[in-house]
């Protein structure tokens, strides 16, 4: 199948070769390959338990793959702890929102700046010049980010007190605060009502236009995928069964079979 994409840069942001993940006897991901470059917005779909989240967990370094290679911006991530992978420029959201609920919205953004904090324990204890400077910069940038996401009014709130849709938005904002090259969104529309979903589509499109970031998203809502993605990959039982443009996918016989009985498509 042809990859119909606007290749703006030649170097891939993410390259996955022959990725396989076994959980005991279960092969959750099997010989998975993908190359993401430039400012693409790509989708990953598949029935429940197909292995989509596992692929994301492997990319973010949460699991070490049983086989295969992952390169982020040309750097192999094998053996790297997740925070190191994040520092390479990979940020993500989670299928079930994972905000720090007993920490203010502002602090949720601040803590995500650890990868470029530039000071350690000693500086925090003596409140050195470097410490004060960095804290000021971090606070300023976090405020700016909250402002453009229209979340500033919640800066001192706890995330758990926010409406569900706003929590989703905050989680995306937190991921973007890392200035990622690659943004992984795991079912951002899960649990949202239809007006929130429209809002989300607008948000993702806006992020895609405004930030210099490659987006890879998992989603069960096909209308969201059809509207946003230029390229979609379909997996089932860890195996790639189809890929192409949204239109290719919609009518692909293998996809229809895989989803048979699944009313989500």
């Amino acid at each position: 199948m042809q990859q119909v994409q606007q290749q703006t840069t030649s170097d891939p942001i993410l390259e996955i070769r022959g990725l396989t993940q076994n959980f005991g006897g279960l092969r959750a991901v099997s010989d998975f390959n993908v190359t993401l470059a430039g400012k693409q917005l790509t989708g990953l779909i598949g029935p429940n338990g197909a292995g989509k989240t596992t692929v994301f967990n492997l990319v973010s370094g949460f699991y070490q793959p049983s086989e295969g290679q992952i390169l982020v911006d040309g750097v192999p991530t094998a053996g790297l702890k997740p925070h190191k992978v994040t520092a390479l420029g990979v940020a993500r959201t989670f299928q079930n929102i994972r905000l720090w609920n007993d920490m203010s919205v502002m602090d949720n953004i601040r803590v995500a700046q650890h990868y470029r904090l530039g000071y350690g324990f000693f500086h925090s204890a003596v409140r050195s010049k470097r410490y004060r400077q960095r804290e000021e910069e971090i606070a300023r940038e976090a405020t700016e980010l909250l402002e453009i996401f229209e979340l500033k009014k919640y800066a001192d709130e706890y995330p758990r007190n926010l409406p569900y849709g706003t929590q989703r938005k905050l989680e995306i904002a937190r991921a973007l605060s890392i200035h990622p090259k690659l943004l992984l969104l795991d079912e951002p529309a899960a649990g949202l009502n239809s007006s929130d979903i429209h809002e989300l589509i607008r948000l993702i499109r806006w992020i895609h236009d405004r930030f210099d970031v490659t987006i890879w998203m998992i989603e069960h809502h096909m209308d969201v995928m059809m509207e946003l993605c230029t390229h979609i990959k379909v997996i089932d039982f860890g195996q790639t069964i189809a890929e192409g443009t949204p239109d290719d996918i919609r009518n692909h016989p293998a996809v229809v079979t895989a989803y048979l009985g699944d009313d989500k498509i």
Binding site: P82, R110, A125
Partner: protein, 338 residues
Amino acid sequence: MLRRYSVHLILATLGGLVVYLAYNEYLGLYYLSVLMFMGVNIILSSSLNLVNGYMGEFSCGHAGFMCVGAYVASVLGVWLFARDRVFGAPVLDPEYALYAFPVIILAGGIAAALAGLLVAFPSYKTRGDYLAIITIAANYIIISAIENMSAIGGSRGFMGMKGVINAMEDTIYLPWMPIWVFIFTIFSVWVIRRYVSSTFGKGVNAISQDEVAAEIMSVNTNKIKTITFMLSSGLAGIGGGLFAYILGYVNPGSFNILKSTEIMVMVYLGGMGSLSGSILAAILFTILLELLRPLQIIKWIVIPLVLIILMQFRPEGIMGNRELGQTFPRLKKFYRFK
């Protein structure tokens, strides 16, 4: 201006007052030692709160680290500055004892921080109940190790620290112990406060709330855990060093699980993740212990009972998760604490 320095002012007045009263012997030895134990308890409860409250782990072996600090500081001090049965004549001129004392206490803290690695390394892979068991094991390992070192008294204990205090008082006559306890108490609270309020230290709280999210949002969780455990046990070591010098005598038995439990009671009494709560609870608990002293062993029925009642009716402790300034926002006008 006044708001900015009000805390400094209050502390300076308080410290000055105690030293003045002690110097003129208006304050009896008994009251003075209760005050000093208050300071030590503040150090112990706030440092344990760092792990049990802010980081959400469950350490039950805090007294073990206290023990390391107590022994290292005691042995070092006696070896350097006092005449002792085991070590013989002092190695250094006792005149320097006064200046070396804070270094000796800090050395005990550093040794305890290193002992903290005993818990920090397992914490990379282990959490919750399992880590709690490891902390108990660490407590036992430390006590047993010292019980088996007959050179420093083994289970009979170690003394001679009075000699060091006398050496300090011979140089300049001041009530040195209350002064050092006061200084180290403020130092401990101040370090913890600064750590947990920095963006760096907020990683501790992020780990407590969602460790996976913390690691994936770029927090080096292993590093933060190591620093937090080392800081917590290091400060416990400082508390232990001071404790040893106040008593003038230590034995491994006084740092057993019962002592660890006592510190835990203070943390839960004050409220998890509340520094002001830990301080308040340490003060109240010290007073309570003194009031109950005549009851002797019955004390250990009353205190757990207090804990049961507390857990029933106010499980979040006196302060809950909040600081003084959050509970009484109007207080904020009068002080700033950083």
